[in-house]
């Protein structure tokens, strides 16, 4: 059962969420359109930058756009399919986890899939807009699919791992938000701009590089089987870490008791 049923659950959540948003059609399309436009604004920014300088550590306009596309895709996948993860803080502090705990499904998966950020669908579209724009090889259009799924999994797993602190301390989400923010921002720039120490950080504790740079470099620009394998392993490790830290946190869950003491 396990895996298959969990996939069914994800699917029915997705159906339900879309149905819910679909009831407000104008805002549904508006949100998607705005997200695409938002991402397009940044293209202008990079256009200006690459008028000032040819390349940044070997990354020109097209390569940087690829980084952006992967980041947008990863963000899109994580928020469209696992949008509920960003509600964990409220769900834990307000004792709303009770409902999920009485249902026969993995709690983290259940929570993460329970919400969809519609605008994130716009980010996924943007990936293809960019690929067209930079005149990508045809097979890039296919390879990008597993790449953004992996990026999305890493992104949400990192957030969940850190937001699980909410089970132990008040405002654990502040840590998670800072880590997420750093990862998100740093992911969009060519890696050459960072110094040695920061690069180390981005390979490990805040795995920005596995989010965008490694996939861009070794799935597309200079394909390399070993790096592909490593990034698959790292993704799996982060997913496992997210599940483990959330599960450990659950033991400390107090169902909103002693709210006064916490907030």
């Amino acid at each position: 059962m396990g895996v298959k049923n969990n996939f069914k659950l994800i699917f029915s959540y997705y159906k339900l969420n879309i149905k819910k948003e679909w009831k407000y059609k104008p805002s549904f399309f508006m949100q998607i359109a705005m997200m695409i436009l938002n991402d397009l604004f940044f293209i202008i920014q990079w256009y200006i930058i690459f008028n000032l300088v040819d390349n940044i550590g070997g990354y020109g306009f097209n390569e940087t756009m690829l980084l952006w596309a992967i980041a947008a895709g990863g963000f899109g996948v994580s928020h469209a399919f696992f949008g509920g993860a960003w509600n964990i803080k409220d769900i834990v502090y307000e004792g709303k986890l009770d409902v999920y705990l009485t249902q026969p499904k993995n709690v983290l998966l259940n929570v993460a899939c329970s919400a969809t950020d519609v605008s994130a669908i716009g980010d996924i579209f943007y990936v293809y807009v960019v690929l067209f724009l930079i005149n990508a090889h045809w097979y890039w259009f296919l390879v990008i699919i597993p790449v953004i799924i992996m990026a999305g999994l890493i992104y949400v797993s990192v957030y969940v791992t850190f937001v699980s602190l909410c089970f132990y301390i008040k405002r654990g989400d502040a840590v998670a938000k800072s880590v997420e923010g750093t990862m998100n921002k740093a992911a969009n720039y060519p890696p050459a701009i960072y110094n040695f120490v920061v690069r180390g950080l981005f390979f490990t504790l805040i795995p920005t590089f596995f989010y965008t740079f490694i996939p861009a470099q070794y799935f597309f620009l200079t394909p390399n089987v070993w790096w592909i394998l490593i990034s698959v392993v790292v993704t799996v490790l982060w997913v496992v870490l997210a599940f483990v830290s959330f599960k450990m946190g659950l033991k400390k869950y107090n169902s909103g008791n002693l709210m006064g003491g916490r907030l």
């Binding site: 059962m1 049923n5 069914k8 659950l9 029915s12 959540y13 339900l16 149905k19 819910k20 009831k23 004792g95 709303k96 986890l97 009770d98 409902v99 705990l101 009485t102 249902q103 026969p104 499904k105 993995n106 259940n110 659950l250 033991k251 869950y253 107090n254 169902s255 008791n257 002693l258 003491g261 916490r262």
Partner: protein, 325 residues
């Protein structure tokens, strides 16, 4: 057969409070560990088909207990078996067998209709499509929700919503149904509906019912057995019949008379408070009747009257007093 077995169950909550300086301000970093024993060494058993109420004042430990039974909270100590499962270790297996309705923690999606919700819950509990439709049909008939089953949940009244909540938790045909404060915040009519429903579920579907409440009214109508809990400990575990005889037989009557009349106490009638024309009178229904009380003054003098049950806090006080004697 026992469906619930609880032995020496305990739950501690630990908080770190900021220490307060003598001048009333808080220290920035100094914290003090505070341990609260929400549930303190309780044991009980529940048989299949029972309707059990778990009652106590706010903060007594009822919700904490029910949450440990359903696998939401990890116990600090002791043993739990629900339908043969250990809730904290076999949460998923157990959840296929039990249903739960938590007052004020709604599980329905408010923007969608109950029907869409039921479909969704079907997939959460892996119910086959045909079986699910049959089940929805059956339950919607029993609970009389068909006429508004396709409206968005947010447009329903509180009473209608709670009915749908219950249907949602019965879809997977659970052997046991847990209610945590289901009547909290409901108006009297909705409360009455709910009480009747709980009885009906127990009778027609044979589901074992376990529910918590701080409202004595809930248990009087619904339950055959009552456990009263206070400060994390069980203070009474008895049949409804006995409880009624010993503790719920007293009514509190508040009367406001037009003029000052002296009300004489007699067997079973005790004046608790008298101020000008206002009287607070306790009437022991085992010994006398309300009519008897009414005969103590002329009905023409009556300005206002209200009759209520003894508050739970007083019953608990009574129980403690009885133990001391």
């Amino acid at each position: 057969m026992n469906v619930i077995e609880v032995k020496n169950l305990r739950k501690e909550f630990i908080t770190n409070k900021r220490v307060i300086k003598p001048n009333g301000k808080k220290y920035l970093f100094k914290r003090q560990k505070q341990i609260k024993n929400a549930v303190n060494d309780i044991s009980f058993e529940v048989e299949e088909g029972e309707t059990l109420a778990f009652i106590g004042p706010n903060g007594a430990g009822k919700s904490t207990t029910i949450k440990m039974l359903t696998g939401i909270l990890y116990p600090t100590g002791g043993e739990i078996k629900v339908l043969g499962f250990n809730p904290s270790k076999e949460r998923v297996k157990l959840s296929y067998q039990i249903g739960s309705v938590f007052g004020q923690k709604e599980q329905l999606w408010v923007h969608l209709s109950p029907y869409e919700n039921f479909k969704f819950f079907g997939s959460i509990y892996d119910i086959e499509k045909t079986k699910l439709s049959e089940r929805i049909e059956e339950l919607s008939t029993i609970f009389e929700i068909k006429e508004y089953m396709h409206q968005p949940v947010k447009s329903l009244s509180l009473g209608q919503r709670i009915k749908c909540e219950i249907v949602a938790s019965l879809l997977h045909n659970p052997k046991m149904l847990f209610f945590d404060e289901p009547t909290i915040g409901l108006d009297p009519i909705a409360k009455e509906t709910l009480r009747k429903l709980i009885k009906k579920i127990n009778k027609e579907l044979g589901t074992t019912i376990f529910f918590t409440s701080h409202d004595v009214g809930d248990i009087e109508e619904v339950c055959k057995r009552v456990i009263i809990i206070n400060n994390g400990k069980i203070v009474l575990d008895d049949s409804m019949k006995n409880l009624k005889y010993h503790y719920l037989n007293k009514k509190i009557v508040d009367v406001n008379l037009k003029k000052n009349v002296k009300i004489k106490e007699k067997d079973g009638i005790k004046v608790l408070k008298a101020k000008d024309t206002l009287y607070k009178i306790e009437v022991d229904m085992n010994k006398t009747t309300i009519d008897e009380l009414m005969s103590l003054f002329s009905t023409e003098d009556l300005q206002d009257i209200s009759i209520s049950s003894t508050p739970l806090e007083d019953i608990i006080k009574d129980i403690y007093r009885g133990k001391d004697e």
